[in-house]
Symmetry: C2
Subunit: 340 residues, 2 copies
DNA sequence: TTGTAGGCGTTATCAG
DNA sequence: CTGATAACGCCTACAA
């Protein structure tokens, strides 16, 4: 484990000079010395000790990827294949910019702020439901934060969002256009400020615009584990009035399809299903799943870019970007269904 | 940001005493002082600065979750839903034991060892293919390592493995018992010491025991992205001789099923498919996927327990644990197919 | 039972 | 152009 001092000794200069070279403060060192030092760095295999750096600079190059654990939930950080899809692209971009990614689940604000101070965390991604409690803790914490699934307007926080409202509207409208009138809405529990509530509003507005009355009994809220989603499919199949389902996540839609088929009904002949996200799974189910597409890798990439701009104190043009959605037609919705 | 010194000042004792209390060296401090100090810690909201700790102790409580990026691969750390299934349980257990999880993708040994020294990483999970290159780097690195998908016998490395051979054998035998003789083997590229090569051997031995000749042209190696797996399904469907497929991963099996159906053939009527892993997806496809079950959360849990025992320098009874597999029958294999 | 002092590797300040 | 030096927060001998 060679240190700056080792390099300095090897070359016969001071630590300061070595440090200057490492940080590219070339103006202050002769070309010759620079060469010598770089050689020694390679030869001795020097790598910086990040702990020492953090200690003196109160900044660590550590970015936290925080997942909020609600107490009743499974303990898994990455519950949704949709999330794991962009964690990879986040790690990659972070790495390319000299940052490190720590994964951490927290239950309380105390957990979170302890973690942040433990490591002088430089920035944060926050996934999952963002509750007010966190907002008050984080807002005067003064580190860049990118919220991935919530809408919370604030300086030093960025939202990377999606046309969630539009997505909900588009999906529902599409079903209506195919002749459906009894359209169920299936989602995880609808939390205020969460993405789902936006999609829900889109659903309701699409109904209203088509003069279809909104019926609370057509709303199915449930967790996203496979058991439960399949069970929801069964419940939906039992309801003889429902002809279509808008599910706010593909894994949910897939579970519902499975449940429907297990009940002896057919998708899309008896009940049509439309999903949300457009994960790979959509092409693996049968029928393949019609869904609202969002670009997960891009979402991840933008999230990191936001964070890095904030870390570098680049002025942001925008605090928030809303990614477009688009409908992807596959085979889970019966076309021109004239049910009305 | 209160420090030990702040606590010491607040209470009117020295840093040493505070430190002793923090580390539970109760014997050396009066009960009264302990109380005072703990109060102050709560009141001032002290949390340890991990950087400072790492610096002085050359150990960091940081555990790396390393994913080996092969150059031609996508840049994603968690390519497989199977992996994301247990990363959550790893983070949880680590956290409960006072450790922190850093995610990092590496391409070369140099990348890896730089990362390890950057942070004084205390221990390592290594997923993905483990090549010799890494072995030589890691083996004298003297930190506990748990290999998740590879077989490399060595002290200070642990394998948490699976009955991969048995899984391959069982899957193939099952197909044979249903009357299949022309059984394709589909997998990601077969790497030496990887799990796949074990499953492959099981496949070959099951064939041999049934006096079925192994045909290299029935082996389909491909990457696991959705495009490619569906394409493989098509290729398999075109081959009129194949009546069954053993795929070494469920996502692969699902893609192959989709490809087969896209070619106008039916699963399992025309071609049977059996998978491996038993991820949630198996219950969402139609037909549902018969597969070899492995317990992913348990695998994650054992992996962490191994690592923590090694970190705590607890003597290990075993360096390696092999988890059992079992066949889960669903609907993707045609029963009693008398094709022979 | 408590305190003092030195050092971990790095950076920034300031002086040569 | 280069080098001392102090400081970051914590830990561990060693003293008292």
């Amino acid at each position: 484990m060679s240190t700056i001092k080792d390099i300095a000794n090897a070359v016969g200069v001071s630590c300061t000079t070595v440090s200057n070279v490492i940080h590219g403060r070339a103006g202050r060192v002769s070309a010759e010395t620079i060469e010598l030092i770089n050689d020694a760095i390679d030869r001795l295999g020097y790598v910086p000790n990040m702990s020492a750096r953090s200690l003196v600079s109160s900044s660590s190059k550590v970015i936290g990827m925080i997942s909020h654990l609600t107490s009743n939930k499974k303990e898994t950080i990455i519950e949704d294949p949709f999330h794991s899809a962009f964690i990879g692209s986040i790690e990659k971009t972070l790495r390319e910019n000299g940052y490190y990614l720590m994964l951490r689940a927290v239950e309380t604000t105390a957990d979170l702020s302890a973690f942040l101070r433990n490591w002088n965390v430089d920035g944060l991604f926050f996934t999952g439901v963002f509750e007010d409690e966190f907002y008050t803790t984080l807002k005067d914490l003064n580190i860049p934060i990118v919220l991935i699934d919530s809408y919370v307007p604030d300086s030093n926080m960025c939202n990377i969002g999606l046309e969630d409202y539009n997505g909900g509207y588009t999906a529902t409208k599409y079903l209506i256009d195919q002749g459906h009138r009894k359209i169920a809405f299936a989602s995880p529990p609808i939390k205020i400020r969460g993405v789902v509530s936006e999609r829900f509003q889109g659903y309701k507005d699409a109904l209203a615009n088509a003069s279809i009355e909104f019926k609370p009994e057509l709303v199915f809220e449930q967790e996203l584990d496979t058991e439960t989603t399949i069970h929801s499919g069964r419940r939906i199949a039992e309801r003889t009035d429902i002809t279509a389902v808008f599910a706010t996540a593909d894994i949910l839609a897939a579970g519902i399809m499975a449940g429907i088929e297990q009940s002896g009904k057919r998708v899309p002949e008896d009940i049509s299903v439309i999903g949300f996200d457009d994960i790979n799974l959509c092409r693996l189910t049968s029928p393949t799943l019609t869904t609202i597409h969002q670009d997960a890798p891009l979402k991840g990439k933008l999230a990191v870019n936001f964070l890095i701009d904030m870390l570098d104190k680049n002025p942001l043009k925008e605090r928030s970007v809303i990614l477009p959605i688009r409908l992807v037609e596959r085979d889970s919705v019966k076309k021109n269904h004239l049910h009305a």
